[in-house]
């Protein structure tokens, strides 16, 4: 058994991290803290998960979220997708293993992966709406969120959701308020089978190794850890029985990375765009400076008068004529 985290003390201690530990801040340049906090991680062992949704209940309770009572749609998922009030969701897949022809019921707890290189943060236009603490937690600051939904486009895992009520983005906070006082996330605390464990990222990797060995001994040759390097690794990791094909787990991306389109948009487009606009403006200015204004001359006015008075004005310019002959 992974040692349980002791009950919280009351009154709780001061938060152990905060503003000073911000490593990345959306739409801002920050100087990363000189010393990085120990990286934390939540490990979700899909092979131990019984799909009981205790994590969902605990998340709703701890975060005081009120989700709507929905409908049954012929499956066990409820709600059917993440919402601004459902930060975490059990996703169920009935998969027949082609090798053994046995049915496997794959149950994955979906939610924010707390990427080391968070696409949401990269996409976010609003300074300080998304922060990443040096322990790896990616947190949304709703006071700064403008509700543009860019984080949704930035996220390789389709996680953030915009609230129809306050029009800001919501997702799992990894219970930063709990972690800050030495507790684990609410979902981890509740998980009956300890399919969710929480600790330092190194501890979690060790624990995953222990679990993977057990799974291999039970015939799951491809058991492994899901800590995708395309996003620099994540602070929520999975142990999968079939780590060679993550996508069978309700579409867990095989090789997640921030979309190249988002990279282009937030990278080259941003800089090139500013440059082009700046260049255009500068070119105009330069031209004006060099060529001077294009002014109407007295002669032009006279010609116009002649024309209106019916006097012979200069004939229309003939484009076929050679240049250099003033009319």
């Amino acid at each position: 058994m992974f040692p349980p985290i002791p009950n919280p003390t009351l009154p709780p201690p001061e938060p152990k991290f905060g503003e000073k530990d911000i490593m990345r801040r959306s739409a801002s340049n920050v100087t990363p803290p000189a010393e990085r906090l120990t990286e934390v991680a939540k490990l979700i062992d899909v092979t131990k998960c019984i799909g009981c949704k205790a994590c969902q209940a605990a998340c709703l309770e701890w975060n005081n979220l009120t989700e709507e009572v929905g409908f049954n749609h012929g499956v066990y998922e409820n709600p059917m997708d993440l919402t601004p009030d459902t930060f975490t969701l059990m996703r169920f897949t009935e998969w027949v293993n082609p090798e053994t022809e046995n049915l496997e019921w794959l149950i994955r707890k979906d939610g924010c992966m707390h990427c080391e290189d968070p696409g949401c943060l990269k996409a976010c236009p609003s300074p300080g709406a998304i922060v990443q603490y040096s322990n790896g937690i990616v947190d949304f600051q709703h006071e700064n969120c403008i509700g543009c939904g860019y984080c949704i486009k930035g996220c390789p895992f389709d996680i953030p959701r915009i609230s129809k009520v306050d029009h800001t983005a919501y997702k799992c906070t990894l219970c930063s308020d709990r972690v800050a006082v030495g507790q684990g996330p609410a979902c981890q605390k509740a998980c009956p089978t300890q399919a969710i464990v929480f600790g330092t990222k190194d501890e979690m990797k060790d624990w995953a190794d222990f679990r993977i060995k057990d799974l291999k001994s039970r015939g799951f040759e491809n058991a492994g850890l899901y800590d995708p390097q395309g996003v620099g690794g994540t602070h929520v990791m999975y142990v999968l029985h079939h780590a060679d094909k993550p996508s069978i787990y309700a579409g867990l991306p095989d090789n997640p990375r921030i979309s190249p389109i988002v990279e282009t948009w937030k990278g080259v487009t941003k800089y090139l765009g500013l440059a082009v606009m700046g260049f255009a403006a500068a070119a105009g200015a330069l031209h004006y400076f060099v060529a001077g204004p294009n002014k109407v001359t007295e002669e032009d006015e006279e010609n116009a008068e002649k024309l209106t008075e019916g006097k012979a004005p200069p004939p229309p310019a003939d484009p076929t004529q050679s240049q250099g002959h003033a009319p």
Binding site: K48, I50, V69, Y76, N78, W105, T193, D214
Partner: protein, 812 residues
């Protein structure tokens, strides 16, 4: 549970059959995952559905609901055929060697002595051969054809793997794999645990389902072992406690019995309860029956219980039938023989079978009293909810009083968990509105009733006006007062029976355990098995030391476990005949030549010599019973019987319908579908979902979010056959009623071939009703038949026949 939740971590093999621990007991199931992670234990799930326990199992085998006995007797057959038997254990600790009377036999699905008109057996021949010394005759060589082992061998021979496949629909190779995995645990250092729940009990032969597993565990030598045992996963937080305290028709606290009409006086009553050992030197708690009974009566009636009036024996009601269980109560109600009915935290309109019958019965009451923290359908059975609850309030004359009670968070006291731990809890919140504690309500009713009898007189007021009510505030006994009363105390100074000068207890002091109880009226104690829970040392149930020496999972200093703080029942059986552990790595207790000691409280007298006293001290044999004598109404061995509603006739006994001795009321027979009735071709079963708890959590918004709306589960094959779409509406109906639900079409349910016939399964979760935060729906009991287990009347909720069709949904 013979063992405890935390003990499951010590096992090598978990078999979940007749239950769905991952869904119904997730936090207990944790210890299965611990066993897997730490010991490399394997998990087998045998169930009609590939459920959430199966999702994390090492092996899954399908089985048709209601055929478990055939499967399990098939396993026993395999163990015998392949010599997967813990022989030392079986010979020493079970009745395998005992000789059975020559008159006992079994043929065509019936045991000796069947009387069809009474639907009952004359069980006289279901007994051991007794020698001249008064003890059972045995044959240690197991060669005598009348020894239990040979009778068993003969009894299970018909349950071949082919027969199992034919009855259960379990593919032969899967059955054999399960039997082989289980058989391996016959090694002394390999232990299996069984986790079951209502999937086994809610059948017309539920008790025999469990007996099968108990027999297997005895054959494998797993009872009393760490990580072994037969573990009933109780469904409610204190249903163990309520049963312990005897809140049943036929019980007195601590599993003592309410007398029957035939027991006309106390002496007659005690005569059948005198413990007579069937083996030399055998000991038992039941030797102390009178001490427990008298102490209870002193607690109940105080000074009014005297030696002269046989401790107020006549104050107790006498039973004329085996019991007034709930099915009988509602049958009586329907017949207009019941006028008042109380439901304390109970929602019978949803919880008992055949909702239409229940509603009709409730409508014949004069007064229905509901005490509940929550709205229930029962309290509003008269209210019209369209298709969900058709009713005409003006036609229902029943008066209903609904009393608001506190919930767990607002009261104090102890609950008994499945592992028999009595855990104390404290109140944390102010009750809403005018909600009151149940104990206050009961006290108020009692005081008012007593006052009426006192002032008006009336029929036999004695037990009411003389009820011992010694509480500081008679209007509201405190949990502490009641807990102390159940533990028991000395009423006067108590002296050592062997040395009358030696005072062992001072008047007014709490007993330290049931060993201090007396049969002379000098001690009182409400519930002997709880004795030791609140002693002079204080409230043992509130202990919170979670140290676990030896990492055994015993936690002896955490709360209190009955009896006598013992954590694993029959733990004496974890040692061989010399008192040495069968498996030294699983040491629990040990005989050091003079006494027993170890990590658990020994389940035997501390100085009982292992060669003299058998480990199963609740039985007069001292041994575990493979042959259960006449203790059960439907046979000393389990035999396969089909459910009362079944897709096929009984393959091993075609003439027998259902359990031949299960009680069926005449009107209910008419509401059973015939065997193989083409109008009801699909095998229905009901069950819980992990997101909900019975009919309570539909009142909880969060749980309503997690599973908002009623559904039924069917296979892709059946859906295709009937044109049912995923998430579409279906109508499901039985001979008793119809429900509308969404369809969950799944690969997790497969059609089965039963006796050559394709049988589809329709799964019906139970949690919906017409009040609450979740969407309105139908309780599963709309569909289920009104029949119970032959021994204990647990309704047959798990196997019934239905039909299904696509629908456009309920029209309210």
């Amino acid at each position: 549970m013979t063992n405890s939740w935390t003990d499951i971590k010590n096992t090598d093999l978990v078999i979940i059959m007749g239950g769905n621990a991952a869904e119904a007991h997730p936090c207990g199931f944790k210890w299965v995952t611990e066993a897997k992670a730490n010991r490399g234990a394997k998990l087998i799930v045998v169930d009609p559905r590939y459920n959430r326990s199966a999702a994390v199992a090492d092996f899954y085998a399908p089985i048709r609901q209601g055929s478990d006995i055939a499967f399990l007797l098939g396993v026993i057959n395999q163990c015998i055929q392949n010599d997967k038997v813990q022989w030392d254990y079986v010979k020493a600790f079970t009745n395998a060697t005992y000789l059975v009377k020559d008159g006992f036999a079994y043929s065509d699905g019936l045991f000796t002595g069947y009387d069809e008109s009474k639907r009952d057996y004359n069980r006289d021949e279901w007994e051991y051969q007794i020698g001249e010394d008064g003890y059972v005759l045995t044959d240690d060589t197991l060669t005598n054809p009348r020894c239990v082992w040979n009778l068993l061998k003969q009894h299970v021979a018909v349950y071949t793997p082919e027969m199992v496949e034919r009855i259960c629909g379990t593919p032969k190779d899967k059955f054999l794999k399960v039997a082989q995995m289980m058989g391996e645990c016959s090694a002394p250092d390999k232990v299996m645990t069984s986790m079951y729940a209502l999937g086994w009990t809610q059948h017309s032969k539920g008790a025999q389902n469990i007996r099968c597993m108990a027999m297997i565990q005895l054959i494998l030598g797993n009872v009393g072992m760490r990580g072994g045992g037969v573990n009933a996963l109780r469904g409610h937080s204190n249903i163990q406690g309520l049963t312990d305290i005897g809140l049943m028709s036929n019980l007195i606290p601590g599993y003592l019995n309410i007398p029957t009409d035939k027991e006309t006086d106390f002496a007659t009553y005690m005569s059948t309860r005198a413990f007579k050992p069937l083996r030399p030197n055998q000991m038992s708690y039941w030797q102390n029956y009178k001490k427990f009974f008298v102490s209870f009566m002193k607690s109940m009636y105080g000074p009014a219980a005297t030696p002269e009036n046989d401790w107020a024996y006549d104050y107790l009601p006498k039973l004329d039938v085996s019991g007034y269980d709930v099915l009988r109560a509602f049958e009586m109600m329907k017949q207009g023989k019941m006028n008042l009915y109380f439901c304390q935290g109970f929602n019978p309109l949803q919880a008992f079978p055949n909702k239409a019958k229940l509603a009709e019965a409730l409508g014949k009451l004069k007064l229905l009293v509901i005490m509940d923290p929550l709205e229930t359908e029962t309290a509003r059975f008269w209210e019209d909810h369209g298709v969900f609850n058709k009713a005409d309030p003006s036609a229902v004359k029943t008066e209903v009083i609904q009393l608001p009670t506190t919930c767990f968070a607002e009261d104090e006291g102890a609950l008994v968990n499945s592992g028999r731990w009595l855990q104390w809890h404290w109140a944390a919140g102010t009750p809403p509105g005018e909600a009151k504690h149940d104990a206050w309500i009961m006290a108020q009713i009692h005081l008012r009733l007593k006052e009426l009898y006192r002032t008006e007189g009336g029929t036999f007021p004695d037990p009411i006006v003389n009820l011992n009510w010694p509480y500081a505030d008679p209007g509201e006994p405190t949990p502490e007062e009641l807990a102390k009363e159940m533990n028991g105390s000395a009423l006067v100074d108590v002296f050592d029976p062997n040395d009358p000068t030696k005072k062992v207890l001072e008047a007014g002091k709490q007993l330290s355990g049931f060993g201090q109880m007396r049969d002379d009226g000098t001690t009182a104690g409400g519930c002997w098995i709880f004795s030791g829970s609140w002693t002079e040392a204080g409230n043992m149930m509130a202990r919170r030391d979670n140290s676990d020496p030896g990492d055994t999972g015993a936690f002896l200093k955490w709360s209190f476990a009955w009896p006598a703080n013992r954590r694993i029942l029959y733990n004496r059986a974890s040692c061989d005949l010399d008192g040495k552990p069968w498996d030294s790595s699983r040491k629990l207790i040990e005989w050091d030549g003079a006494k027993w000691s170890g990590y658990d409280v020994p389940d035997i007298a501390p100085t009982a010599n292992p060669r003299d006293v058998g480990p199963f001290i609740m039985n007069p044999e001292g041994s575990g019973r493979l042959f259960v004598r006449k203790m059960m109404r439907d046979g000393p061995f389990p035999a396969h019987y089909e459910p009362f509603e079944s897709p096929v006739a009984n393959v091993v006994a075609p003439k027998v319908r259902g359990n031949p001795v299960a009680r069926v009321f005449p009107d209910d027979w008419k509401q059973f579908a015939d065997i193989g009735d083409p109008a009801f071709p699909y095998a229905g079963t009901s069950y819980r979902l992990t997101e909900h708890f019975h009919y309570w959590t539909k009142n909880n918004h969060v749980n309503a979010v997690l599973q908002p709306e009623q559904f039924v589960e069917i296979s892709e094959e059946l859906a295709k056959e009937k044109g049912i779409t995923l998430g579409g509406w279906v109508r499901v109906w039985s001979k008793r009623g119809e429900i509308y639900a969404k369809a969950v079409v799944t690969k997790r349910i497969k059609p089965m071939t039963i006796d050559g016939k394709t049988v589809h399964i329709v799964g019906v979760p139970i949690h919906w009703g017409f009040v609450g935060a979740a969407r309105k729906g139908f309780p599963a009991n709309v569909l289920t038949p009104f029949v119970g287990d032959a021994n204990i009347e647990t309704p047959e909720f798990k196997a019934f026949m239905v039909n299904i069709e696509p629908s456009t949904g309920p029209v309210a």
